[in-house]
Amino acid sequence: MSQCMARCGNVWAAQRDCRRRGGRSPVDEKRLALGVGSVPVGLLSPRLPVSPFVPLQRGHDRRVLPGCGLVSSLQRGSAGAGCSIRAFAWHPHTSKFAVALLDDSIRVYNSSRSPRSLRGSPQADKALLKRRLSQRILKCCRLSPSPAASPGRTSVPAAARSCPVTAGPGPQGAPGTALTQTSATVPILKHRLQRSVAALAWKPLCASILAVACQSCVLVWHLDPTSLSTRPSSGCAQVLAHPGHSPVTSLAWAPSGEMLLSASPVDTAMLVWDVSTENCVPLQWFGGGGVTYLAWSPDGSRVLAATPSAVFRVWEAQMWTCERWPTIKGRCQTGCWSPDGSRLLFTVQGESVIYSLSFSEYSGELQGQVGGSKTASIVADLSETGFETLYGEERIGGEVHSMAWDPSGERLAAVIRGSPEAAESRTIVAVFRTRNSPVFELLPCGFLQGEPGAQPQLLAFHPCFKKGALLTVCWSTGRISHVPFFFVSAQFPGLSPRHSPVAALSSSASVREQPLFSEL
């Protein structure tokens, strides 16, 4: 606890430091360090027109999508005022991520794990990591002015309790955390068909296959993880196109890596791709329009598909039947699944609440049944509330525009957009602590905000951060920041998020956690 307090003190110091120096600092190569640190994409290469220049982006969208205001408003990256990052995706197994920029190029950042750090003592790694932590992340991410803030709920000293322990070294060598340096090569992916990129998705159980949702097709990049080339040729990309299926705006890989789902807000059919053979099966239904958002549950059993109308569907991924969920107010904005796939949190446009929908435990016996409960329940009310801070009153609260749940199911991050009428209300990232079993719990943990004027655009959790959760936020200024949360997972103490979703699922099914083999 004392450690935590010390760090919290640091937060304030660093924040003051940040203010004094006035935000953006010159970038050196080391700032690209993954894990902790921020990547100001706008400064990476002077050649790229990636400044957060709003008219440029608008014009671009209008040119590519004539008259498709719907589509551009649905593209997740462009939902805010201005953004220079269109999409972001963590690799599901390694510390590697892809960023799609405004000019539709994609960059892949990779942290190379040098053998030295693998062999090195965990203590040294830890020390290194900590040092980087204190140096880097706190510069750009200051915590909210009110550390104990929780809109519309009982006040909990969240910041004080959110970080009880800095992580101890995992039971194994924890290769995922030895993020010592970023590899020098940053592949830049460009392709003739890579226009208006809306989503990125790495194939699970695979080294380096990246699916890109483009204007007219889905591009599947086969990158060689050992290659040193910075410009993979467009021959490495597989083009998946289907008549009438454009623009593609959402993608989801099956957690087992066999299938890819692609959807378009214009096409009523959602396509299931067998990527290797380029065969696809359209899943059609009548009514409701296209699909604006896809989320595959981590255990692979269900898929959320939101439509532009006030209805969303939950598909069951074995026989591909669906349950239809009409919402009262607007379309489903975003949704995320608990790690075992038994609970879905979602938000609806025009309402500042988070709904929860629980599903019966998945077993192969109920074929073709989605197994959802009868009604969704409200688990959090995020309506606007004022907070007294050192810098005056701040108003926080409103619609949730995107959400992410960390793979261990312990932290939930949500981008809360303030109401447009109130000038002082702002878009902010709220972090909650969650627990899924035995009873669902959602407690406020704190807020994250960027530099002045920066709005959070995209959220993602690192899929295999061993020491807790690592939240990545893409800001409208083009900055990407990684925010680690150190905690010991309550469900799998010492064995927090596993490599593979499959294992995470099965380990929840059985309590036996002993390793099968003695370690060498």
């Binding site: 690799h91 197994h93 390694t94 794990r113 194994q172 060598g173 290769p175 159980l205 695979c206 080294a207 380096s208 993880p225 050992t226 597989q238 289907h242 008549p243 087992s256 890596g257 066999e258 299938m259 299931v272 067998d274 990527v275 290797s276 053979t277 380029e278 065969n279 696809c280 099966v281 359209p282 059609q284 074995q318 026989m319 591909w320 039947t321 077993s363 192969g364 016996e365 073709g368 490599h499 593979s500 499959v502 294992a503 099965s506 380990s507 099914a509 059985s510 036996r512 390793p515 099968l516 083999f517 003695s518 370690e519 060498l520």
Partner: protein, 682 residues
Amino acid sequence: MRAGGDEQRVLLRQVLGWRVAASVAWSVLLLPLCTAAFISISSIDLLHPIQWISNSFNDWYTSYAIFCMLLLSVVILIISIFNVEFYAVVPSIPCSRLALLGKIIHPRQVIHSAVHAIMGMLVAWCAAVMTKGKFQFLAVPCTASESLDGAVQHMCLNEYHLFLLLSGAFMGYSYSLLYLVNNMNYLPFPIIQQYKYLRFRRSLPALVKHSCVESLYLVRNVCVAYYFFGYIPRAWISATTDLHADSKLHPLDTLTGLLDLSLLYHTWLCGIFLLITWHIAWLLFKIYATEAHHFPVQPTFTEETDQCLPKILNSNPPLIIKFLALQDLMLLSQYSPVRRQEVFSLSQPGGHPHNWTAISKECLNLFRDLTQKLIMQQEAAATNGRVKQPSAGELGRSLISSEAAVSEEMSFQAQKSNVSRAHMPSLVKSSLLPLKTLSTSDLGSSFGSPFSSPALNRQAGILDLNSPWHGSVQSPHVMRRGPKLWTSSSGWVSFVDLQMNGSHQESFPVISVARVGNEAIQPSFIYTWLQNKQEQVRSFLSKRVLIMYFFSKHPEASIQAIFSDTQMHIWALEGLSRLVAASFTEDRFGVVQTTLPAILNTLLTLQEVVDKHFKLPHASSKPPRTSGSLMDTSYKTLRFALRASLKTAIYRITTTFGEHLNAVQVSAEHKKRLQQFLEFKE
């Protein structure tokens, strides 16, 4: 042997019987709908819509229509019987144009075509009768004679009716040809499980569209054919039935005769009707036959023992049953914890993991067969398709040694499991292995492969191994890089005679090494002579352009042929890897641990070989663009699916077990490979 065959037939009937019955029933039930639609559309009259609708309502109940419906039901039944008789889960891919030609004039196919032509004629007759108007009868009163004297009506030949009948026959025949060329008898298994109704509904628009377009082409072809050869059947009909063509009307084999819009429209409609009804029968059979079947893992009653999954996998059932069993294995490993538990369970008295052993053994055998096949194909490619033609003594010697190996293997059957697998990668590396190593290594455990004797595979391996030394013995043109005639990438010629040799040997299961060896020498003289002749003929023919046109092999086709049954391997990979991954938490007795080294070795070896295959110069690395049509061409891209699922399978195991894999006994080379997989560098 007989009993086993009967058993399998019973099993096949049990599994497939009701599916066939249901599919036929549904296609017959859908027939009235199609017929009604056909009647309405054929009598379409846009100027008087109400009259048209009421007329077509009345037409549905006429005795003609009902009789036609009955007749068409019979046609559908016969078509369905042909579908059932001709289906294949492994497509046969002709490697050259000659092979395709051979398939067309194969008696089986000829019967198929003839029956389909007759059925087409029947459908066309029904269509003509239901269309009414000028098409209804073959004999009509002559227009010319009517005015002369009303008392005696001369009957004339109705050429429209004849045209429709002939076009029906032509369409039936074309359907049969397309059925062959497009491999429509191939049953592609769907990539996702869906309810049958949904699958049918999903394919229906494509089916209708395809039939309409196809029918258009067929009408064009019919017109061309009739224009040139129409006089023959007309003259024949006139001669046999004593009906003469109406002199007032234009004969139809002229341009003005053929440019009759109503005739073309009705022919087109008739074609659509024929194609839609037949395609529906075909589609329904496909959907029913590829539906997942639930095989029990553990029999609840003793009578069910033959139907449980491990038993079926280990016996040699009809291929469709094996496919369904492997599909079921994949599904149970993915979706059903309860059935996985049964796989990992121990037998009640004795405590042996029979289920797991049987399943893993069969999967590993499949992978080894594939590895074997690929190695041979690669060696054939490496030696530029050159086939070894060993001298008689050589062949005898190799036969003896391989026979010895067989007996050796049989005696050491029990302990053959894991030890010798380590030889595989080294074998992949260098083809110049000493004979001894090869024969002792467990190469040929290929049960259920097309060339089913283990001696064969080993022997073929030896032959290929020997080839670099004896290359100079052969006639020089074989060595030359250039047109090759009878070599498929896996050495067609050598397979043929080896197969003969093998079947010869198989009838004498190892009695004594020497005797079999002596017997084997005898036919080999004939083969060498035959092969010499073959070489001569080949070199002679390869200079002729026309012949080359027929003989030249499409490289893509021969690669497709190698991977034609790979769907099995894909399911086995998925099923096995998921089971292994699930065993990390679900396997209470540790039965999977015992086979883990063997599984890893086999998978890594296969991975190595598959990687190598894709590096061959003629192997394209990307699937060809597929057109989203009704015809399924997924067999063309199976090798890419295999490569992807192989990688996914290994990753699934490595991500689940993680660092624990360091404790598994694998060779150093494989350890290095595994490390790469653990670091996501593959």
